[in-house]
Amino acid sequence: MGNIYKGRVFILGDNIDTDQIIPAKFLVYDLEDSEEKKEYGRNALSGLPEKEYGDKPFVEEGAYKSEYSVIIAGENFGCGSSREHAPAALRISGVKFIVATNFARIFYRNCIDGGFLVPVESKQDLTKEFKTGDFAVIDVDRSVIQNINTSEEFELFDMGKSREIVDAGGLFKYARKMEMI
């Protein structure tokens, strides 16, 4: 994991569940097939209710990738099913970091163990401190995130033990490094 990361922000609310991240009907695509895999990128976050999120699509019509690489969300991000297709879909769409007040447990593990993306908890709700389209800089060592558009800086929680697995690049790489497998 690079220690300082800059990316464009997409804002989401509380309780974004795995069906909103990737609706169940897309789970039939093969994640190991380079063509089919793109469907996950194209359909990432396509389950969001249009009423709330309709004005700015996360992935533009016809595209396979999103222009947003940092998601900022409220509570309980990734709740719902255990499907690893959810962090995988976000990763395939181009997401690198998710900053939320807290995460559903299985989703958090999946992000880290699968080496898909980095979930970090913010000390306060940041969904009002950023707007979709703002640029954020995340400094993992200092546990802070800055809104470049407003220059304001906010504290994140230290990742604790999870950081070792994130730095290794996922559970398998970690286990190899520790000579467990």
Binding site: E32, N76, F103, R105, N110
Partner: protein
């Protein structure tokens, strides 16, 4: 300081005398369960990481139970089953409940109970968030993603952060018509949908003791809806008998120590509970059904690991007997065994199955079916923005198909009563 039941099971599997909440340990897994949605990607990760010709850690400890996308024309869904057929054959995995054969069963969590796959004191890891259902058998059971499952497949091991435990104690008695589903819906709305994140929930008290094993499954099934890592009920005579029926003697009788540390103790009396619904779009939006009797419904649905077990259909039939549904109603037995059971069990000389049919209910084949939407041709899938009352466990937008559908979660009693009246109805008037 003592340990909770969850800590004891984890310590036993980590090969240490004691663990405490917050510690990260590696445990030996007793059973790994996967299904048709997560099995194929798990096997792909397994091969990628351990090699094309690698062998799983123990073929007898892996259960592959396809249930999600079974009765569909979707080609990709069929391919998933083919992948599992090849994988289980090559790996010598005998416990494969192959669709289209006599071994096919239906919903994995219900099968785990029926076949006594998860035992008291064991660790069950599954690639499904409702793996926690098996906490009813005093198993430490929790859901993981594909990478973790592939890691278990290769090594039999998994890292776990020892969870803190919330104790939920329910004394007294429930009112007539109030079920485990109502109890857990209230608990989730009291705790909030992330009120138990990273935590275990241990259930105790007379209400839990009086619950059947299936009711305890319903209770533990939905702890994930409060974010919990696992739910757990301790071994008692009922559970001993449940295993005894299949010739299995239970040798694990541990309980939480008197001086175990709980991060929270929540006390209820049974009389506090009433028939509940969870309003759209969150299982945490619980309200008494009686307060919402002005909500008209288009459809009712009875099925899933939460509300498609034998007793769930018996409850529905108690209300549907000699009546007609007003709203279109779908029923999907969780497994083939549930289907057999309800074709045998009689109420007033009529089988539960016939009661459903005569009431105008449409029945589907055992599987997860519309509980999670799935391919467009899935039985009972909500393809339009309907208002639905369902015995399932989640009502996030799009869960049962259409993003704008409104899903209300409730017990089989409440769903059946609402189906008859065409609007949300407290079942008490029918019981």
């Amino acid at each position: 300081m003592g340990m909770t039941i969850t800590e004891k099971i984890i310590a036993n599997h980590a090969g240490v005398k004691k663990v405490s909440a917050g510690e990260v340990v590696w445990v030996d897994v007793d059973v790994l369960m996967t299904h048709d949605v997560c099995g194929p990607p798990t096997s792909a990760i397994f091969k990628r990481e351990f090699g094309e010709n690698a062998k799983v850690w123990d073929p007898d400890k892996i259960y592959v139970i396809p249930d999600h996308y079974i009765f569909t024309k979707d080609e990709h869904a069929k391919r998933n089953i083919e992948i599992l057929r090849d994988f289980t054959r090559n790996q010598g995995i005998k416990h494969f409940y192959d669709p289209g054969t006599e071994f096919y069963r239906g919903v994995c969590h219900v099968t785990i109970g029926e076949d006594r796959i998860a035992r008291p004191g064991q660790i069950l890891i599954g690639t499904d968030s409702h793996t926690c259902t098996a906490g009813a058998f005093c198993t430490f059971a929790t859901g993981v993603g594909n990478s973790d499952a592939a890691f278990v497949m290769g090594t039999g091991k998994l890292w776990l952060k020892v969870p803190e435990t919330i104790k939920v104690s329910i004394t007294g008695r429930l009112k007539h018509g109030v079920t485990a589903k109502d109890v857990i819906l209230k608990i989730i709305s009291d705790l909030g949908v992330n009120g138990a994140t990273y935590k275990a929930i241990e259930f105790e008290g007379t209400v839990i003791e009086n619950f059947s094993i299936e009711e305890r499954m319903t209770l533990c099934n939905m702890v994930i809806e409060a974010g919990a890592k696992n739910g757990i009920c301790v071994v008692d005579n009922k559970l001993n008998k449940y295993f005894d029926e299949k010739g299995i003697s239970v040798d694990f009788h541990e309980k939480s120590d008197n001086d175990a540390v709980f991060c929270d103790v929540i006390e209820y009396t049974g009389e506090e509970f009433s028939s509940m619904i969870a309003m759209p779009h969150s299982p945490g939006n619980g309200r008494p059904a009686a307060d919402n009797s002005d909500v008209l419904i288009d459809r009712a649905y009875i099925g899933s690991c939460t509300g498609g077990k034998t007793e769930d259909f018996v409850m529905a039939a108690e209300i549907l007997i000699n009546r007609q549904v007003k709203s279109e109603t779908f029923a999907v037995p969780a497994t083939t065994i549930v289907e057999q059971n309800i074709k045998n069990i009689r109420i007033q000389n009529k089988t539960v199955w016939d009661i459903l049919i005569d009431a105008g209910v449409k029945t589907g084949q055992p599987s997860c079916a519309a509980c999670l939407g799935g391919p467009e041709d899935t039985f009972g899938r909500v393809n339009e923005p309907l208002t639905v009352i369902s015995t399932t466990n989640r009502n996030f937008p799009g869960r049962m198909g259409h993003k704008d559908a409104k899903i209300f979660l409730a017990s089989p009693y409440t769903v059946a009563a609402s189906a008859i009246k065409g609007k949300i109805t407290d079942p008490v008037e029918f019981l």
